[in-house]
């Protein structure tokens, strides 16, 4: 009661920002909904493609592939860990949902790479672009994930694709920032040497800047993947499929066991993906 009473103090200078916000979103939806719906098309296609492959692969083959890849890039311990994690996920009956989540993460990270790498490269090249981008990234990173859901639902309606789009917005900033940082950290004398031998700007970018920035960029990819995974449960609130769904439904219906194994699968997935991308990053550092 007290809280509401103090609010009354501001009544004379009260601004109806909530209504304005509402009007703005309505205006956007009314005028541009087709545009936003069209933006869903490529994301949806990508998502469908990835999940079709993952769901088509027999689990045994998938587990073997992941374990071998993990062993090659990160050593036998991580190989065993990866194989065991996915086997356990299958044994608790969450294989299908895990593949859906994995394709959502893969699709959103792919889109993040497609958008984030060029933006990071541009930011590294131009101080002015970097200065313009910084506040946008700050807002994207500090806004709580739940807050994204409102406009995303209004513009993209509900479902898995809308969940992926919310994930992309949430997971994009560290990739842009670390691409920018990695490129700016490349020592001047190496760039100078490349230029002295007549490299074009493209050649400097692809033969010098990006390879030398790769460890830092991989750290950004790692963070982006972790953020994407952290969105899995939240995305389920707006109807996205995958491992978030048993967690949300389990909590609503107080089926703790169901929510618990959903959470466990997410954690296992996170650990395996984290170790794998870190190993890739370290590999890039060694050259």
């Amino acid at each position: 009661m007290n809280a509401l009473l103090t609010d009354a103090v501001f009544d004379p200078i009260r601004i109806p920002l909530d209504r304005w916000f509402n009007d703005f979103i309505n205006w956007l939806t009314f005028n541009y909904r087709p545009t936003f719906q069209a933006m869903k098309v490529p994301v949806e296609a990508l998502l469908d493609g990835v999940s079709a492959v993952l769901l088509w692969l027999p689990p045994v083959v998938f587990i073997a592939l992941v374990a071998i890849m993990a062993w090659r890039v990160a050593g036998w311990r991580i190989g065993v860990l990866a194989g065991a994690s996915f086997t356990l996920i299958g044994m608790v009956g969450l294989w299908g949902l895990t593949m859906v989540t994995l394709s959502m993460v893969a699709a959103s990270v792919l889109v993040c790479l497609i958008i984030g790498l060029p933006l990071g490269i541009l930011a590294a090249r131009s101080d002015r672009f970097q200065a313009a981008l910084r506040p946008v990234l700050d807002v994207m990173q500090t806004t709580p994930a739940f807050v994204y859901l409102v406009p995303v639902v209004m513009l993209f309606s509900i479902g898995t694709v809308a969940g992926v789009i919310a994930t992309i917005i949430f997971a994009l900033p560290p990739l842009i920032r670390l691409t920018d940082l990695g490129i700016r950290q490349v020592p001047d004398d190496v760039i100078e040497a490349a230029e002295a031998f007549g490299s074009s700007e493209r050649q400097v970018l692809f033969k010098v800047r990006l390879p030398l920035a790769l460890p830092t960029i991989m750290a950004g990819v790692n963070q982006t993947i972790m953020l994407a995974l952290s969105m899995v449960v939240i995305a389920a609130l707006i109807g996205a499929g995958g491992l978030g769904r048993p967690v949300v439904e389990g909590l609503n219906a107080l089926r703790i066991g169901q929510a618990g194994i959903g959470g466990l699968a997410i954690v296992l997935l996170a650990i395996v993906l984290d170790r794998l991308t870190q190993a890739f990053g370290a590999g890039a550092k060694r050259g």
Partner: protein, 411 residues
Amino acid sequence: MIRVESLHKVFGPKPDEALRLLAEGRSKDEIREATGDVIGVQDVSFELKPGEFFVIMGLSGSGKSTLLRCINRLIAPTSGRVLLQTDDGEVDVAQAGPSELRRLRQEHLAMVFQRFGLLPHRTVRDNVAYGLEVQRVGRAERVRRADETLEMVGLGGWGGVLPAALSGGMQQRVGLARALATGAKVLLMDEPFSALDPLIKMQMQEEMIRLQRQLGRTIIFITHDLDEALRLGDRIAIMDDGRFVQVGAPEKIVTEPRTPYVADFVAHADPTGVITAGTVAVPPEHPRVDELRREPGARVLAHRTQADVEIEVADDGRVLGVRADGAGAELVPIDTLLAEEAPTSRYRDRAAVVRADRTLRTLLAARNLCNLPVLVVDDEERLVGFVTEREIIHAIIEKRGHNGDANGVTA
């Protein structure tokens, strides 16, 4: 091969204004007050012949690196021309368009850096091949030429490792190989050996001399180290405050410094490998030489400090004989003497003959073997002059020849 004309580089907001003030004769400090500009290079001109080894020296901040980078336009010159001889005639690097500039850097101007500037993620071989890769030379050809060049700098067999696995000296060999591999006729080297230990540095200098003899590139080489400059340079330019204050052969720089700045610079130089016998020797006309008597077609001369030694010189300049202690002495070329076992006491019956282009170091050796004036002769065996202790000591202390007394600045 390459000609630089009136090159200026101004760092700062109003370069045109700064150039105008410079032309009015205002000082660097006044210009900085007025415009906030820093003058990096000021009115530098020089021309190099193909195969010339040109060394630029100067204190820190004198503008050496800036000048070198203006030549391949890593730093854009504010005014002036950098004319490069290519197969399609003379090209001004300062005016070249972007693709032309890239082509000039790829094919004509290679660079070696103080801090090596190697690509850490590429193998030694791929570093050396970088310049060729940028020119889109095919993989097989690239590897062939890279390996060939690595062999040349003594790193055959190291192609497959990453630069971080090599010592500093070896890394700079890679840097050198990268510059040589493109076949560019002009090499720009910015303090390439400064980061190396003295011993490795010496090895690299010898390597450089050997490679230069073999390849005959035109080299612009920056250094802080006077002895390095004297050892390597065909000509040396001394830079101060963005300008060339003196350009000349090593011996001239040491023996005839034109300003106190240059004199300070060369004060601690070791002159024995630089000053030549021709400069040190006193000619027959010098007051320190007496004509004892004339004979038909010849003169008999004596050096004041060894008045008892008679030297007979024909009118065409050939040395006919040397008499000491009432007996004739044998005239022996210095290299013959050096090849023999050293005598227990210095010869009084043999006189050393030394060519005028040999160094003071050779004169010291000659004087150490013979107690008769050393006879310095030109290519046609005609007498240039005599050398005794007196001339040698004078040359070492004053870093000048006998005839340098009148001009030059004393350090």
